[in-house]
C-alpha cells in the first residue's frame, strides 16, 4: 500500500482507534512475532509504541467469530511482564509490599494462582489494571503496554526497599482464546486440562519452558502463554498448525473484550475513574475492605472505601443501542430524546459480531445506572435510543 493511498484512506476514518501515523512508524518497537505477522498478511498499525497486527486477511468480523467458535491466537507481547522477587526470600514479604499499591488481597493468593488487580493513586483513580500471579518464590505481573514503564517506576518506588522489580524484555506473550483453546494447547502439553480458570503453571511446550495462565481478555476459556523470545516464533507456529487455531489481530481483541464487558485501560478506566465508579469492586477482596484483616493501606483507600460504603455519583454500565447503528466511544448520553439532560458518556462502543448488534459501555449518573433505564446517545447529531444493560453481553465460558 502506497503512502498516498494510506493517507487518503485514513482521512475517511472518523473514529478509528488505531489510525496509522506514518511519521512515527519507523520508531516503533517490534515484538518477537513481528516477522510472523507479516508472513501471515497482517495489517500492521502503531499501538502503544509497537507495530502490531490490527487484523489479518480474514478481517475483524471473521476473526472475532472464529475466536468464539474455535480458537484465536493473539500476540500480546507488547504488554509488560514484571517479576517481583522479595529480597528476604519470603513471598509473603513481596505480597504485603505489593498490597500497599493495590486494593487487592495478594497475601491470600495461593501459589499457582492469579488475580486481577488495579494500581490506584492517592485520589482513588486507576493508574493501570493488571494481573498478579503467585509463582512460589516471586510474583509475576502482566501490565498494560502503554503503562509498563510508569508501572515499573511506581513498583520500584513502592517496593524497592524490600523487593527486586524486573521488567522482562526477553519474553513474548501470546493469548490462545476460545472453546477449542484447550484442545489446541493440549497438542503441545497434555496436562493443560488439569488447569482451571486463573491457575498459573510452568510447562514445557516443544521443549521450551513457558509460563501458562488459564485466563484472557475475551470472555472465553483460554490461556496466556509467556514464551522466551528466542523460541516465540517456533511455539506460536506450532500452535497455529492446529486447524482450529487462527491468528487474530487487535481489532477483534477489542470487539471481543467489549462484548465480554471488560475494561480497556485508557478508554473505560484511567486516573479520572475510581474502581467503584468503574464497577470493579469485585476486585477488592474482603481483607482489604473496612473491617478486613488488612483494610485500606493502598493509595486512595479513604475515597475508595468510602465509595464502597456509600456508592458513587456515577457508574460504569453496559449500553445496548436499539437500532443497528454503532454508538462509539465519546458519544454523549442524555436522559431525553431532545438531548437537553446530559447524564454521561460512552467510553467504548462498537458492533458486537457475536451478539449481532451494537454494544457499548460508559459512565452514567448513578440515578440512571439501573438495568433497563432508557437513555439517548448522540450520534452524528441524532439522539439514538439506548438501554442500560447488564454486562457482559456474551456468556462467559471460563472453566472454573
Amino acid at each position: 500500500m502506497s503512502a498516498v493511498d494510506a493517507g487518503s484512506v485514513s482521512r475517511r476514518i472518523m473514529c478509528q482507534t488505531w489510525r496509522p501515523d506514518l511519521e512515527t512508524i519507523s520508531h516503533l518497537n517490534h515484538t518477537p512475532l513481528h516477522a510472523l505477522h507479516l508472513s501471515l498478511g497482517a495489517r500492521m498499525v502503531p499501538f502503544a509504541g509497537y507495530e502490531m497486527p490490527v487484523q489479518y486477511p480474514e478481517g475483524v468480523l471473521k476473526e472475532h467469530l472464529h475466536t468464539r467458535a474455535a480458537a484465536g491466537l493473539f500476540d500480546v507481547s507488547h504488554m509488560g511482564q514484571v517479576i517481583i522477587r522479595p529480597k528476604s526470600g519470603r513471598i509473603a514479604d513481596a505480597a504485603l509490599a505489593l498490597e500497599r499499591l493495590v486494593p487487592v488481597d495478594v497475601l491470600g493468593l495461593p501459589e499457582g494462582r492469579q488475580r486481577y488487580a488495579l494500581f490506584t493513586n492517592a485520589e482513588g483513580g486507576i493508574l493501570d489494571d493488571l494481573m498478579i500471579a503467585n509463582r512460589g518464590d516471586h510474583l509475576f505481573l502482566v501490565v498494560n503496554a502503554a503503562c509498563k514503564e510508569a508501572d515499573v517506576a511506581h513498583l520500584k518506588d513502592g517496593l524497592g526497599g524490600s523487593c527486586n522489580v524486573t521488567l522482562l524484555d526477553d519474553r513474548a506473550l501470546v493469548a490462545l482464546q476460545g472453546p477449542r483453546a484447550e484442545a489446541v494447547l493440549c497438542e503441545l502439553w497434555a496436562d493443560v486440562a488439569s488447569m482451571r480458570f486463573m491457575d498459573v503453571a510452568e510447562a514445557d511446550l516443544h521443549d521450551v519452558t513457558c509460563i501458562i495462565s488459564r485466563s484472557g481478555y475475551t470472555g472465553e476459556d483460554g490461556f496466556e502463554i509467556s514464551i522466551p523470545a528466542a523460541s516465540a516464533v517456533d511455539v506460536t507456529q506450532r500452535l497455529l498448525e492446529h486447524p482450529d487455531a487462527l491468528a487474530i489481530g487487535l481489532g477483534a481483541r477489542d470487539s471481543l473484550r467489549l462484548e465480554a464487558g471488560l475494561c480497556l485501560y485508557g478508554n473505560d478506566i484511567d486516573t479520572g475513574t475510581t474502581p467503584i465508579e468503574a464497577a470493579l469492586e469485585w476486585a477488592i477482596q474482603k481483607s482489604r475492605r473496612a473491617g478486613g484483616d488488612r483494610a485500606g493501606g493502598f493509595p486512595g483507600a479513604d475515597r475508595i472505601l468510602a465509595e464502597l460504603a456509600r456508592g458513587t455519583s456515577r457508574r460504569r454500565v453496559g449500553l445496548r443501542p436499539e437500532g443497528r447503528a454503532p454508538v462509539r466511544g465519546g458519544a454523549a448520553l442524555f436522559a431525553d430524546a431532545g438531548g437537553t439532560l446530559p447524564v454521561g458518556s460512552v467510553t467504548s462502543g462498537g458492533f458486537g459480531p457475536s451478539v449481532d448488534c451494537p454494544v457499548a459501555m460508559g459512565y452514567v449518573d448513578a440515578a440512571r445506572a439501573e438495568n433497563g433505564t432508557p437513555l439517548f446517545a448522540e450520534v452524528r447529531g441524532k439522539y439514538l435510543p439506548v438501554t442500560v444493560s447488564a454486562l457482559p453481553f456474551v456468556k462467559q465460558t471460563y472453566k472454573r
Binding site: 500500500m1 502506497s2 498516498v4 493511498d5 487518503s8 484512506v9 482521512r11 475517511r12 476514518i13 472518523m14 473514529c15 478509528q16 482507534t17 488505531w18 487484523q55 478481517g59 475483524v60 468480523l61 471473521k62 472475532h64 481489532g251 477483534a252 477489542d254 470487539s255 443497528r324 447503528a325 454503532p326 462509539r328 462498537g350 458492533f351 459480531p353 451494537p358 452524528r380
Partner: protein, 120 residues
C-alpha cells in the same frame, strides 16, 4: 464509463444523473461492513459534504458527495444488508443517485486508469 474520486467513490454518469458507490479498494480497506446510513431522497449536497456513513466492527467512515447535486434515489438494499458493499461494491451495492447541479462537472474526475494509479 466509470469516474472516480481520490476519496474512493465511483460514479456512473447517465443523462446528468450519477450513480455513486465506494470502490472495491475502499471496501477492502474498510473490512466487513455492519452498518450503512444513507441520505434522504431530496437532500442536496455540495462536493465534499459527508453524504453517507459506513461502519465496520471497529470504525465509522464518511462517504463524501463527489459533486454538487441532489439525491434522487438511495439503495435500501445496502442498508438492509451492509455486507453487500463488501461482496459487490461496484455493482449491486451502489449508494445513491445524484442529479448533478452541473452535468459537465464529472468530466474532471479521475478515469479508471488514473484511479488505479492512485491506489497502486
Amino acid at each position: 464509463m466509470l469516474k472516480f474520486t481520490e476519496e474512493h467513490e465511483w460514479l456512473k454518469v447517465e443523462d446528468g444523473v450519477a450513480t455513486v458507490g465506494i470502490t472495491e479498494h475502499a471496501a477492502g480497506q474498510l473490512g466487513d461492513l455492519v452498518f450503512v446510513e444513507l441520505p434522504e431522497a431530496g437532500a442536496t449536497f455540495a462536493k465534499g459534504d459527508s453524504a453517507a456513513t459506513v461502519e465496520s466492527v471497529k470504525a465509522a467512515s464518511d462517504v463524501y458527495c463527489p459533486l454538487d447535486g441532489e439525491i434522487i434515489e438511495v439503495n435500501q438494499a445496502i442498508v438492509d444488508d451492509p455486507a453487500l458493499v463488501n461482496s459487490d461494491p461496484q455493482g449491486a451495492a451502489w449508494f445513491f443517485k445524484l442529479k448533478l447541479a452541473d452535468p459537465r462537472s464529472a468530466d474532471n474526475l479521475l478515469d479508471e486508469a488514473a484511479y488505479k494509479e492512485l491506489v497502486g
